[in-house]
């Protein structure tokens, strides 16, 4: 169950597992500590998702060259 914490933080667990992990999290201090550690990793990955088109008025340079 503990290794679900990464998938939980990323929001990619399937619904039933997501709910099961939420219940597990209530009682597992190890996973609570890992949740805090990993909580901002997805934000770093978001920088990859958004980098090529940060905003509509700011086209990526690789496209305009």
């Amino acid at each position: 169950m503990h290794d679900g914490v990464a998938a939980y933080v990323l929001g990619v667990l399937d619904d039933s597992e997501h709910e099961a992990f939420e219940r597990h999290l209530e009682v597992c201090e190890q996973c609570q500590a890992e949740l805090v550690e990993l909580a901002e990793v997805p934000d770093r990955l978001d920088e990859l998702k958004q980098a090529p088109s940060a905003s509509e008025d700011d086209p990526p340079m690789s496209m305009s060259r």
């Binding site: 679900g4 990464a6 933080v9 990323l10 990619v12 999290l25 949740l35 901002e40 770093r44 990859l48």
Partner: protein, 184 residues
Amino acid sequence: MCPVLSHLDGRFESADAEAEHRIAVLYQEFGGPLLRHVRKSTGNDLQWAEDVVQETLVRAWRNSARLQWEPGLLWAWLLTVARRIVIDGRRRKSVRPHEVEPPEVDMMAVPDGSERALSAIVVADALRSLSDEHREVIEQTYLRDRTISEAAAILGIPPGTVKSRLYYGIRALRELLRDKGVAG
């Protein structure tokens, strides 16, 4: 005179008042930071971000056990809940055109001189230096808005393996980012 009803009425009133107070405190404590955070993942869609924040705080408010947590843990949980709501929303609504095809890692880091682009280069480098197995599960789940079981079907490996690789991959990624000074 009906003691049971009047008793219930009294309880409901005070419960409502208490609930209102608690949700007001939640908004005061976390509403602003959470909105700023969520806006980044809604592509600056403010209306959507506000809906996500509201839904997140209502879920927290309904879950009194969570509210006993220390602020760092509660914040981490709120971020995670909000992220899940955004992902669910993105899966439901038609995605923005530029999000239809998630970029490959090689073309992700576009240098435009901004701090975020520099940071994106660092993150892309860190992702590339993971093992193929670890990088693959991160790409096939989070970066493509897919669940564990969807990614497992595509990769042809059991869901439990995806979940486990994701755990070690994300831990490794976090270590790399921390060494490079961009982990949160």
